[in-house]
């Protein structure tokens, strides 16, 4: 029997299939990409690895209620990345690790600007330009209303436009 959970396509209760998830296979399939995604938001590889691990723990705890593990993991990684940024910002004395530079002024200038975005803006911009998703796809990944994605992205791009020049 399958019951949808609040209509979210990522979650469905499958009472007869609770132990069928192969976490090892999922980890092999998704971990690399998820670390890159988390890094694109947190700008910190070590934090990204923690985030991905936490997402897999969440998946394990959710068990086979998760109908779409890949989508579930991606949403969890984005949300946990946002949370990790806030947690570190509110810790007061946290300083992000030194960022790599490329000696390409256009890239370095732009990366500096991206780092100044608010956490949710960072997440949406990363999904747009790292994962290369459309606004509708970002909304689906995050479970946000499309209008929220649109306004968040708009504000982020408006800010970046002021800071990134030719």
């Amino acid at each position: 029997m399958t019951n949808s959970a609040h209509g979210d396509p990522l979650l469905e209760v499958q009472q007869d299939d609770r132990n069928s998830m192969d976490l090892d296979a999922l980890y092999r399939e998704h971990a690399d990409r998820l670390v890159h995604l988390a890094t694109s938001i947190t700008f910190d590889r070590a934090v990204a690895e923690e985030v991905v691990q936490e997402a897999f723990v969440g998946l394990h705890q959710a068990g086979s209620r998760v109908h779409n593990p890949g989508g579930y993991l991606r949403r969890s990684v984005v949300n946990l990345s946002i949370k990790s940024i806030r947690r570190r910002q509110t810790a007061g004395r946290y300083r992000p690790p030194p960022q790599p530079t490329t000696s390409i002024p256009e890239i370095d200038e732009g990366w500096n600007a991206v780092q100044r975005l608010a956490p949710r803006q960072r997440a949406v911009v990363a999904l747009r330009y790292w994962e290369d998703l459309s606004e509708a796809e970002i909304a689906a990944v995050l479970g946000w209303p499309p209008g929220t994605v649109k306004s968040t992205l708009h504000r982020a791009l408006k800010r970046l436009k002021k800071e990134i020049t030719r």
Binding site: D32, T39, R45, E54, N79, R86, A118, D132, T165
Partner: protein, 402 residues
């Protein structure tokens, strides 16, 4: 087409630039350690003669991008950059599987506000917008209406871009707000006295019952507020704040000495405010709740009036008891930093015990759950910045150095 260096990018150019930035920097960052922070041109010159090369994007969105009309397909970067990426082996990293199951990372923070989106709440469907409800990702507190709290007013004060705020606290326990409007284009208030602090001239005067120190120049307004009701001419705390301000073309830095603290700094975001009546013992008292998502407490408090601020503990979270100036002394506030934003809870004639009890009674709502509980939310009207008559204002940031 304008190709002048330093000129503003159009939408398509920004789109391509950001794509290039992410496809270059994310793989580099994944490989990066603190000791190899820079790729220098001299590392690359031996590997390429300077001709332009084409590098296939490494990001997961490469294939999707190739089929989009606004996309550039493959990313073109200079030979120096491409070679540099080769030097550091920045192809798509395969972190590889591990034999061990990932371990849980304990959350060191405690807060009445839930985190941005706990996994358990991922089941929330997209909300139907009721008034100005927050998105399903944003958790907001609201009064315990089921236990008799009565909402009298609720409103959203929208964020206006380019406004920043912070609050610094002196060793004597006095709070000073520093507010930056990056692009304000206006004039100093008439009749204010001019004083010089460090390299900056401030207009000093009474502003709604508090002393405001304002410097206004093209593309920048910086204001330091002092809500203390009685400060003599020998007071050195405000001097410390004002003399420590360093203003450049792109940054404003608040330098404060040892012993001072910062409650955080950042852009001012939407403020959600709820006024309500609540029962305390046999009394009915007025209360108010203010929340700002994605900010530090210093940013929220920057938008409040603070006469005194005293550190306290709220269920394991660092918190502050805040009183306003004489004009609003009847309210006492409990302010704290949650995982996803900052909160101020005020109570008429409240003491700390009553405030903590009231804070514990608050409910948390996502999306329409929140707006359904409190009713229609009014959106406040905020005047946007005046646009400069010519030229663009360089973006600035506000930071605290202590």
């Amino acid at each position: 087409m304008n190709t002048t260096p330093g000129a503003t990018l159009n939408d398509d150019e920004l789109d391509r630039r950001l794509h290039d930035i992410y496809q270059t920097m994310v793989p580099l960052l994944v490989e990066h350690t603190a000791n190899d922070a820079t790729i220098r041109p001299d590392q690359t010159s031996q590997l390429d003669n300077g001709s332009v090369v084409e590098l296939i994007p490494t990001g997961p969105g490469s294939q999707q991008r190739a089929r989009r009309s606004r996309s550039t397909g493959a990313m073109r970067i200079t030979a120096a950059a491409a070679a540099a990426l080769v030097v550091l082996g920045v192809a798509q990293l395969d972190t590889g599987p591990t034999d061990e199951a990932p371990s849980a990372q304990p959350d060191p923070t405690q807060s009445i506000l839930p985190t941005a989106a706990p996994v358990a709440d991922e089941t929330s469907p997209p909300i139907s917008v009721n008034g100005n409800a927050p998105s399903s990702l944003e958790a907001l507190l609201y009064p315990a209406v089921a236990q008799g709290a009565s909402v009298t007013d609720s409103y959203l004060t929208p964020a206006v871009q380019d406004r920043w705020g912070t609050t610094v606290v002196s060793p004597q326990g006095n709070a000073f707000g520093v507010f930056l409007n990056e692009t304000l284009w206006g004039e100093l208030p008439a009749g204010f006295e001019q004083r010089t602090y460090g390299d900056n001239v401030f207009a000093v005067g009474d502003e709604d019952g508090r002393i405001a120190y304002t410097t206004l120049r093209p593309c920048l307004m910086l204001s330091v507020s002092d809500d203390r009701t009685s400060t003599g001419p020998a007071d050195t705390q405000i001097d410390t704040v004002l003399n420590g301000l360093v203003i450049t073309e792109t940054d404003v830095v608040v330098n404060v000495p040892d012993g001072w603290s910062s409650l955080g700094v950042g852009p001012i975001e939407d403020t959600y405010s709820i006024s309500f009546d609540t029962s305390i013992a046999t009394d009915t008292r007025r209360a108010e709740l203010r929340q700002m998502l994605d900010v530090n407490l210093g940013t929220l408090l920057n938008q409040a009036r603070i006469a005194t601020i005293t550190p306290t503990d709220f269920d394991g979270t660092n918190a502050w008891i805040v009183t306003g100036p004489e004009s609003s002394v009847e309210f006492t506030y409990l302010a704290w930093q949650g995982d996803n934003g900052a909160v101020m809870l005020g109570l008429q004639d409240g003491n700390e015990t009553e405030l903590v009890d009231l804070a514990r009674s608050l409910s948390t709502g996502y999306g329409n759950e929140w707006s359904d509980a409190i009713g229609e939310v009014t959106t406040a009207t905020i005047a946007p910045n005046n646009e400069p008559t010519s030229g663009a204002c360089p973006t600035k940031t506000l930071d605290v150095n202590r």
